[in-house]
Amino acid sequence: MVDTVKRFGATTALDGLTMEVAQGEIHGFLGPNGAGKSTAIRVLLGLLRPDSGSARLLGGDPWSDAPRLHSRLAYVPGDVALWPGLTGGEVIDLLGRLRGGLDERRRGELLDRFDLDPTKKGSTYSKGNRQKVALVAALASDVELLLLDEPTSGLDPLMEAEFRAVIATERDRGRTALLSSHILSEVEHVCDRVSIIRDGRVVESGTLAQLRHLTRTQVSAELAAPVPDQLRALPGLHDVVIEENRIQCQVDDPALSDLLARLSAVGVVSLTSHPPTLEELFLRHYGPGDATSDPSPR
């Protein structure tokens, strides 16, 4: 997509979005609520027509070549709405046939892996199970490209792990995927490259190694004695805040063991660590000023 703009009335959902997903890669698409992730995917699906800019998909035009291109891709929407009167199995078969056929063996295998009962009516599935129906329908077809809008929302941790494993095998089979998410750690596990989008613009894009600075761990600890001041100078530590016995900082992954060794030398009373949330990232990297600005008119 190059310089794509999409407006809904007064709202600008995509504001000059430029990004590229190479063939054979699993591309993570990160952004806070309302950033324009779903809108971008809908433009790629030819459901929305961009106001300006251009988009190419599998060598074709996503708007005018939609039906032809769609036989080579599968889509899982962010909010899966199943027909209340159709069973999960019927929906999987319907979507597969509309796409031009599905792989029977994989269908059965995926139903097993995701532990999904295909005989239930659409209205009786839980959110996670609706998501699974759409995932099975998408993954059971032999397609080149997967467009997945928050594919793991609603899945329990066990199923999320299963999903990651499936995506990993898909990558090995040479498929391309674009998957959106709010959660950095989620895309970290499965993606080769990541684009971060905010207010309809890509603000950061690259391989995971290039974005390593985004994956620092946030550490806060309380020690038995005052924190030695020379910790500030330790390589790989950022944004260090020291107050008497307490320390807060962000740590590059390679520096973690060194830091922990030094902390335990003093004596640790309590310690918490977590990966930075997306919001923290945005606050830190792109300024707090417009992190709270809501692009929607109301």
Binding site: T87, R97, L98, P118
Partner: protein, 534 residues
């Protein structure tokens, strides 16, 4: 009990706010019909030969079947109750059941009641709030009728009976809607059930009123709530005790609805949903297959309903001979007008087919607008992300919307003539009346074309098509009595078409409307391939 009703007041206010415009439109629309008819009394019933006119109308089984039992047509009030009363009452029932289902089951289905229930709200409050708002709308309609009929000079006592009767019969259908909203897990299902009850009540009283004077069938009318307002006999020696029937039934139905709601889980109907098929059947592999699957249940319901309606109305057509032989004065009049039983029967067919044709237009729009629901719910997105084309998706719904109503219309035509054909032994009548029905089909197709056009280019204005349909229905049912100028009453898609057994066939309007429908549909489908699907 108080705990179970906590939050009722707030929910009623919310319901009033959310539905005020739709209820206001219903109440005003229905409320003006009665005083307008009363005002036009002198122009309809020419005082010079009022007796003959009234005798004709009273004895005519078609008019009785369609309008209800005439009690006293010699005053504007009594005439109005007969001429438009049953229509108003039926429409009040429709307003009530649609309204109550919209604020209960539909809200539950969309997940909004769940939000409400998580607040401080008693168990019965959402259901009763929806019912109370609908009851209030019925009450407002009754009040408007009483005041406006008194204002145009009819006796106040009669007006009060008219208003109360209408409000209470409407209330019965608040109860019906509240009960069906508990039985079915979907708003569509609940509406279908409640509409069946309303249609059955209407047809039951039509059969009873159309039956011969001494027939036992006449008393069946007491079983139909739609008839109870007429049985109060406004302006014709009011029988107030009859008002107890709808009042008691309303309370009973609402109590039943509350009891039923207590026995089911949130979000489900009364029946547990069964497991379904594990695999999609062979038909479920194209947009058309999907559309058929989505529509087949309700289309089957419509088919059964229209078959029953056709047979029931058809059975009335054979009583014309009896009627004429019983009333020599009438036979004389019809002789002079240049016909006999035959002509009377044809006029009856024309009258019924005129209504059925518009009704099939309603069906066409309902079927087609399912596509809008598919888009709103995100189902269309799933389909359009596959190799299915937009034209294919639009076309599959439009195709069903075009074909099924036309087939049903023709079928009703044939069935209408069945009883008459059997009694005369002239089976060619079947084809003749079926053909007459088919000649009216382009009107519905034109409306469908308009629906496609709007959906393709400006889906926000899709409701405009309901204005056209509503206007046509209104004009065909009561338009003639309002004394409106003829060009206005003929401003419907069906008016230019030849009304066959009576008129001669004329191809230009039929072909013209078909061509117009095709053009609208084609232009609409171009729009659909160019707009965003959101």
């Amino acid at each position: 009990m108080t705990g179970r009703l906590t939050g009722l007041g707030a929910l009623v206010r919310l319901g009033l706010r959310r539905n005020r415009w739709s209820y206001l439109a219903w109440v005003l629309g229905l409320g003006v019909v009665a005083p307008a008819t009363a005002t036009a009394y002198e122009t309809i019933i020419d005082p010079a030969n009022a007796d003959v006119l009234i005798a004709t109308m009273t004895a005519n089984p078609t008019m009785r079947a369609m309008l209800g039992p005439p009690f006293d047509l010699s005053t504007p009030g009594g005439f109005t109750v007969w001429r438009v009363g049953t229509f108003i009452v039926t429409m009040a029932g429709l307003m009530a059941l649609l309204g109550v289902i919209r604020s209960t089951r539909a809200e539950e289905e969309e997940g909004r009641i769940e939000l409400v229930r998580s607040g401080v709200v008693g168990r019965d409050a959402p259901l009763l709030a929806g019912s109370l708002v609908a009851l209030a709308a019925c009450g407002a309609l009754g009040l408007l009728l009483t005041v406006s009929m008194t204002a145009v000079g009819t006796p106040m006592v009669g007006s009060l009976a008219f208003g109360l009767g209408t409000a209470l019969v409407g209330s019965v259908f608040v109860g019906v809607g509240a009960v069906t909203a508990q039985l079915s897990a979907t708003a569509r299902g609940a509406r279908a059930l409640a509409l069946w009850v309303l249609a059955a009540a209407y047809v039951l009283r039509a059969l009873a009123d159309g039956a011969a004077e001494d027939s036992a069938i006449r008393t069946w009318a007491w079983l139909s709530p739609v008839q109870w307002m007429a049985f109060v006999q406004p302006y014709a020696g009011e029988r107030w005790a009859v008002l107890l029937l709808p009042a008691v039934l309303t309370v009973a139905l609402l109590a039943l609805a509350v009891a039923l709601e207590g026995r089911r889980d949130h979000g489900s109907g009364l029946r547990a949903t069964r497991a379904g098929r594990e695999r999609g059947g062979p038909g479920l592999g194209s947009p058309l297959g999907l559309a058929w699957r989505l529509h087949r249940g309700s289309l089957l319901g419509w088919t059964v309903g229209m078959v029953l309606f056709g047979l029931a109305m058809g059975s009335l057509s054979t009583s014309f001979g009896d009627m004429l032989s019983e009333a020599p004065v009438l036979e004389d009049i019809f002789r002079r007008m240049g016909g006999g039983t035959e002509q009377l029967t044809d006029a009856f067919f024309v009258a019924i087919l005129g209504i059925v044709a518009v009704l099939m237009g309603v069906l066409a729009v309902l079927v087609f607008q399912r596509l809008a629901t598919e888009e709103r719910r995100g189902h269309a997105e799933l389909v359009l992300a596959t190799s299915a084309t937009r034209r294919g998706l639009l076309g599959s719904h439009a195709l069903l919307a075009a074909v099924v109503p036309v087939v049903l219309l023709t079928l009703v035509g044939a069935l209408l003539a069945a009883a008459y054909a059997r009694s005369t032994g002239d089976w060619s009548q079947l084809g003749r009346v079926a053909g007459a029905a088919l000649a009216l089909a382009p009107g519905g197709l034109l409306v469908l074309g308009l629906a496609v056009l709007l959906h393709g280019w400006v889906p926000r204005f899709a409701w405009l098509v309901w204005v056209v349909v509503g206007w046509s229905l209104f004009m065909i049912w009561v338009g003639a009595t309002l004394g409106l100028p003829e060009w206005l009453t003929r401003l419907t898609p069906w008016a230019p078409l030849p009304q066959l057994p009576v008129d001669a066939m004329s191809w230009p309007p039929v072909l013209g409307l078909l061509a117009a429908a095709a053009v609208l549909g084609a232009v609409g489908s171009v729009g659909y391939t160019r707009r965003d699907i959101t």
